[in-house]
């Protein structure tokens, strides 16, 4: 496991992944059990939700296709509206920050970079680590809802669950690659974490608020959250345009990170 940067960092994330698996499993179990328990009262729930102002529901991750009578609709509001994006954004930002800013903060990067590995190879392998981590946690989340939906006999379209995982993974990668870029420019862990988290919150608010105000409605296109959620992938399946936008944003940040890291002083 110490053959290269990728394998070493994969090994390092073992414990972290175990904790994520436990947390996600508890969440999946809780949500599935809760939904199956009040399934007979769903119509009342739906009525209650529809009585809330649309703007308020939109702000909390709801949408016009909100429907609590299906497990997918329930997950779409309760899990994939706010909670899952927060979880995956934390994973992305943590991973992206660690690559340069975190290692510089720990003073461990200087030694690694004095070997024959080279900056590009290091960054490439670490970016793969970040992607692997996001993919693994997305798969754990996907697997949990798949298993618990079957366990509690809840109807859930596997293809659409996979679709929202793609959207969610790319949302996470967008913020992870942004953190990687900021870390490669500043080399400062606190700045990178703070700025990335700030941008994530801002991005969420832009997507939540701008559609409600006509004059700034188009601002929503600048938010990655828009491309994550506007097409409702858990209801409507994958949206390739949104996938391409998030892929493009992630790739752009990653490429810029390689440029910034090339000129970064490692101390």
């Amino acid at each position: 496991m110490f053959r290269n940067v990728y394998l070493k960092n994969l090994r390092d994330m073992r414990n972290n992944l175990i904790y994520w698996t436990i947390g996600i499993t508890i969440l999946g179990l809780y949500v599935s059990y809760a939904y199956s328990s009040f399934a007979e009262n769903l119509d009342t729930w739906n009525e209650l939700l529809k009585s809330f102002p649309e703007e308020l529901m939109h702000f909390f991750g709801g949408s016009e296709v909100m429907d609590m009578t299906t497990f997918a609709g329930f997950l779409n509001l309760e899990i994939f509206g706010v909670m899952a994006p927060i979880m995956l954004i934390i994973v992305g930002i943590n991973s992206g920050t660690h690559i340069v800013a975190g290692e510089l903060n720990n003073k461990t990067l200087e030694m690694v970079m004095s070997t024959s590995i080279g900056k590009n190879k290091y960054l490439f392998q670490q970016t793969l680590v970040m992607i692997t981590r996001i993919v693994i946690i997305s798969i754990i989340l996907w697997g949990n809802f798949f298993i618990f939906a079957n366990l509690f006999n809840l109807e859930l379209d596997l293809n659409k669950l996979t679709a929202i995982m793609f959207h969610l993974g790319l949302l996470s990668l967008s913020f992870g690659s942004f953190s990687l870029l900021i870390g490669s420019i500043t080399g400062n862990k606190a700045t990178t974490l703070g700025l990335s988290a700030g941008i994530a919150v801002l991005s969420y608010f832009i997507n939540s608020i701008s559609p409600m105000i006509k004059s700034i409605e188009n601002l929503k296109y600048s938010s990655v959250f828009y491309y994550y959620k506007h097409s409702e992938p858990l209801i409507n399946g994958i949206n390739f345009e949104s996938i391409l936008v998030m892929l493009f944003v992630s790739l752009l940040f990653i490429i810029l990170s390689f440029v910034a890291f090339k000129y970064k002083d490692l101390y």
């Binding site: 110490f2 053959r3 290269n4 940067v5 070493k8 390092d12 720990n106 003073k107 461990t108 200087e110 030694m111 690694v112 970079m113 004095s114 070997t115 024959s116 590995i117 000129y263 002083d265 490692l266 101390y267």
Partner: protein, 297 residues
């Protein structure tokens, strides 16, 4: 300046300059190191030693100047050549979640190293490689650094304050290991402010002050250029004026038939002058490196 041909130099640093914004780190630092040499870079904290080493290895971008290792720019070195260079940073930190053995294996793999004498070196440094690094003391962490520096039999070892935090016994063991590696062909660039360590290991030194190299010579030459203290016992003491008029003599003190003074430069005049008298004993007190060092500051 050494009169060797260019090909004999394994490290050539030319006019290396680094500014951190408007603040000078180093300016026009130049020195050359011959293959098989142990070269010391001396200077107090903040003089620019670490900046020099980091710039040499492109760990920080130099503002101007260049470094050639194996007569090539660092970017043009082959993987094998890069693998034969070891570096021990001054602020040596490792991954606390790994054991010493795991960390050294990782670094060895990143270097693509073929040879590995980790266990022998660890035994010599009394280092338990199975313990998690986060449980080790500063001195024991530094021992990992020493082992790491030499475990792959490097052709070049660049060491920044390598004995920081080590006890005197292990400092001595480090010197033994460094000398043995040097005997096997390892060229060593040693940055330190521990002068007796430099004096024990190095043939030549560069003295760095405020980011500039102010002297780069053999230690013996540095000593020759420096003021020495003389103590001469005469059968019959010459007059004070006879001694004080000898060129270069200063700080003359006469006690019974013993004259004590300091003198700078060529001693030919002194020998000629005292040859006219009966000398019972002549003692020349060589300055140590610390005294030489202090003359530059």
């Amino acid at each position: 300046m050494l009169s060797k041909t260019k090909d004999e130099y394994i490290i050539e640093v030319s006019n290396l300059t680094k500014f951190y914004g408007k603040t000078k780190g180093i300016e026009n630092v130049s020195f050359r190191i011959k293959k098989g040499e142990i070269f010391g870079l001396m200077g107090p904290n903040g003089a620019g030693k670490t900046t020099t080493l980091r710039s040499m290895l492109n760990l920080i971008q130099s503002s101007s100047g260049e470094t050639k290792i194996f007569s090539k720019n660092l970017f043009n070195l082959s993987k094998i050549e890069m693998s034969s260079i070891s570096y021990l940073p001054g602020e040596f930190e490792t991954y606390g979640n790994l054991s010493g053995k795991e960390y050294l294996k990782y670094i060895s793999n990143l270097r693509n190293a073929k040879k590995n004498n980790t266990n022998i070196l660890a035994d010599r440094m009394d280092l338990d490689l199975n313990k998690k690094i986060k449980t080790l003391s500063k001195g024991n962490k530094q021992k990992i650094g020493i082992v790491m520096a030499f475990m792959n039999n490097p052709k070049i070892a660049i060491l920044d304050e390598p004995t920081s935090g080590l006890d005197p016994l292990k400092q001595q063991e480090f010197q033994n290991i460094a000398k043995e590696q040097n005997d096997e062909g390892c060229t060593i660039l040693l940055s330190s402010h521990i002068l007796h360590e430099i004096e024990a290991l190095c043939e030549r030194v560069g003295i760095i002050k405020d980011g500039n190299i102010i002297a780069s010579e053999q230690i013996s030459e540095l000593k020759n250029k420096t003021i020495k203290k003389y103590e001469i016992s005469f059968e019959k003491l010459p007059t004070k004026s006879q001694i004080s008029k000898i060129k270069g003599v200063s700080n003359l003190d006469i006690n019974k038939n013993i004259a004590t003074f300091t003198m700078h430069g060529n001693i030919d005049n002194l020998i000629k002058a005292i040859s006219k008298h009966v000398v019972i004993n002549l003692r020349i007190i060589e300055p140590d490196l610390e005294e030489i060092f202090l003359t530059y500051y």
